[in-house]
């Protein structure tokens, strides 16, 4: 019996050796799959997974199937560093993530040392100023978005004073600092400056502070779950707004969680699956069919990040998998949906990895995000 088993095992091994191995290229997603920012990290991951499945179904990148490994940072900087080291030890071609700006910062030295291109979801303004030549954004940094928002507050809302509620982490702090600078230059007064904690669940006291400020508009700048809780509490306490915000406040997940409390919220969105563009609409339908929920901007970030890697590898590097060349080719690059449909919206990266795209003004109407205006790329 033992002899039979040995023969069977050897035969199986021989058969495996005789089968031509399918060439594979390794990609890694290091992101916030669990913990406080799981909503964002989960959406980003699903965007990555969808892109990988689509690309593999069409033969992979330059004929090599993508082998994607997922690493969960648990929204914890310590774990993010350990997971990044683990991912880098596996020698991937490129990395998607992290999404949380704080995690991008703590893992940055590891990426620089490994000379590893990484396509991040973080939006903190200073991420592209820290000397990481291998970092590429998948959405605007706050220094791009905040001037547009400040213009919107002055020209569309016509507010003279703002009550600001923000989350006290890397994302919220740099966003607040950039916004205050832009508001001051437009003579818009800060009536209240309410800082909150990441993962905070009870906003009753914070809403009382906002009510007392009696400002022309309330600016909400936090992560999706917290935005939803803030809006729910605001409705509970009868705070009328108008509420203005950035991409997270108007994201599909925030609208779903806040339900009717999100009605009437308006602002600027850098990226949205409700964009009135054919490629984005088709992406939204494919995502919903695959995951049974509507993608928010983080899903698009992950999805377009993978397609950027594919485009550059195939069209700029001639199918050569060279990390340093990938990073070099990304700088100053523009990809249009005509070049690569998976990029969804024409996108340009500058020498620091910052991004330029069209963006949108939006409002929540009937539980859905309605795009009211398309703003041009800054470089146009």
């Amino acid at each position: 019996m033992k002899l039979l088993k040995s023969i069977a095992s050897l035969s199986a091994l021989a058969l495996m050796a005789a089968t031509p191995a399918v060439a594979q290229v390794k990609l890694a997603y290091i992101g916030e799959i669990s913990g406080q920012l799981a909503v964002s990290g989960g959406n980003f991951r699903d965007g990555v997974v969808l892109a990988v499945e689509e690309i593999n179904a069409k033969g992979g990148i330059a004929g090599q199937r993508i082998n994607l490994t997922l690493y969960d940072t648990q929204t914890n900087p310590g774990v993010a560093r350990a997971q990044t080291q683990k991912a880098l030890d596996d020698n991937p071609y490129a990395v998607l993530g992290p999404v949380l700006s704080g995690n991008v910062k703590v893992t940055m030295p590891l990426f620089i040392q490994a000379e590893m291109p990484h396509f991040i979801g973080g939006e903190a303004a200073d991420l592209v100023t820290l000397g990481d030549k291998y970092l590429f954004r998948t959405s605007f940094g706050q220094q791009i978005g905040m001037p547009k928002i400040a213009n919107y507050i002055r020209d569309e809302i016509k507010a003279k004073s703002i009550a600001l509620i923000w989350v006290n982490n890397d994302f919220g702090k740099t966003g607040r600092d950039n916004l205050l600078k832009e508001l001051a230059s437009r003579n818009i007064r800060l009536a209240a400056d309410v800082s909150t904690e990441a993962g905070q669940v009870d906003f009753a006291a914070d809403i009382v502070k906002l009510k007392a400020a009696n400002a022309d508009a309330v600016f909400v700048y936090s992560n999706e779950e917290e935005c939803a809780r803030i809006m729910r509490e605001a409705k509970r306490q009868g705070l009328k707004g108008p509420f203005v915000g950035d991409t997270t406040l108007l994201s599909q997940k925030t609208i779903e969680l806040a339900a009717d409390a999100a009605e009437g919220v308006q602002g600027h969105v850098g990226l949205t699956s409700d964009a009135p563009l054919k490629e984005v609409e088709e992406y939204k339908a494919r995502f919903q069919k695959r995951f049974n929920y509507v993608s928010d901007h983080n899903g698009i970030k992950g999805y377009t990040g993978v397609y950027a890697i594919k485009y550059v590898t195939e069209k700029k590097l001639g199918g050569k998998f060279d990390r340093k060349a990938l990073a070099e080719a990304m700088r100053g690059l523009t990809i249009t949906p005509k070049d690569e449909p998976g990029i969804l919206i024409e996108t340009t990266w500058d020498q620091n990895g910052e991004i330029d795209r069209i963006s949108f003004l939006a409002e929540v109407v009937g539980g859905k995000q309605k795009i009211t205006k398309i703003l041009p790329k800054i470089g146009k």
Binding site: G199, A204, A205, E225, A228, R229, R232, R236, Q237
Partner: protein, 292 residues
């Protein structure tokens, strides 16, 4: 003044929910010397029972709540006692405490695996409208939460002091040996406390989840606040837990507004240390003496 009243009501409403969870701590401690460190997760789980009833079985909200109540009493009451507390209690309090910490992790990770790490919207018990009192626009939802909490506590107090079963439960809590000699079915009385705790956490879940949103990690903070509330008020007195919860909710809100949001958890903890130093039995607790 209007801000003060709004903060007070919001604080009392949140504190009322902490109180419901804290009462569970004291009930289990008094009748079976069980410190349940999974109490926060006990509040988190029934919300998911309701969501499962609504999304998987298509139940209307009220029916899902009834089903969740029954399921909570079976799992968080009966099964918790029979499968975890009874076998562990013979080994002393500490192993049981560690077991409940393990249970908390199991429940949290189980929900995350089954339902995901995302937050989920949860239907509120009332529309988000305001009532104006003394010039302050008060949230109707906060008033309802406060009303339901007070109603639940009064009903529990009436049950414990006004019914035969309630008095038997109190006797069991005071001295189980003497209660047994007097013919009181002590085991059954202890089981009743576990079932009451399950009903209380279900009620707390219905009140808090529309504010917190349903999420696997909700129990961490709730459990901590409920535990602090029980110690502040007095671990061996139900009314102490209620006062502790309400005081904690108010302190939390006033700290966030008048001191700093960053220090909102620090001030209750400082208050806890002061209580432990100067009144270790809690605000309304009784001194327990032990012969050594």
């Amino acid at each position: 003044m209007a801000d003060f009243i709004q903060l007070l009501i919001a604080g009392l409403a949140t504190g009322g929910i902490y109180a419901l969870a804290a009462v569970g701590f004291t009930l289990l401690w008094q009748t079976s010397q069980t410190i349940n460190f999974a109490q926060g997760e006990f509040v988190m789980l029934p919300a998911f029972f309701v969501l499962i009833g609504m999304s998987f079985f298509g139940m209307p909200f009220w029916l899902a709540c009834v089903a969740a109540l029954i399921l909570s009493m079976i799992t968080l009451g009966f099964m918790f006692k029979k499968l975890l507390v009874d076998p562990m209690l013979n080994h002393g309090t500490l192993p049981l405490v560690i077991a409940t910490i393990g249970l908390a992790i199991l429940m949290k990770e189980g929900v995350r695996e089954f339902y995901g790490a995302d937050a989920w919207p949860f239907p509120p018990l009332a529309e988000a409208t305001n009532v104006t009192v003394l010039g302050a626009a008060l949230s109707l939802q906060s008033l309802i939460i406060l009303g339901i909490t007070i109603g639940a506590v009064v009903a529990l107090q009436l049950f414990l002091s006004g019914t035969r079963t309630g008095r038997q439960m109190q006797a069991t809590a005071l001295n189980p040996s003497v209660a047994r000699i007097l013919g009181i079915p002590v085991e059954r009385m202890i089981l009743y406390t576990f079932l009451i705790n399950a009903a209380l956490v279900m009620l707390a879940a219905l009140l808090i989840t529309p504010i917190y949103l349903a999420k696997f990690s909700n129990g961490e903070l709730l459990g901590l606040y409920a535990f602090i509330a029980a110690i502040i008020g007095g671990f061996n007195q139900m009314r102490g837990a209620i006062v502790g919860g309400l005081v904690l909710g108010v302190i939390d809100n006033f700290t966030a507004v008048y001191i700093s949001t960053q220090y909102r958890l620090v001030v209750p903890l400082v208050f806890l240390i002061i209580i432990i130093l100067f009144r270790p039995q809690g605000l309304l607790g009784r001194v327990e003496e032990r012969t050594v």
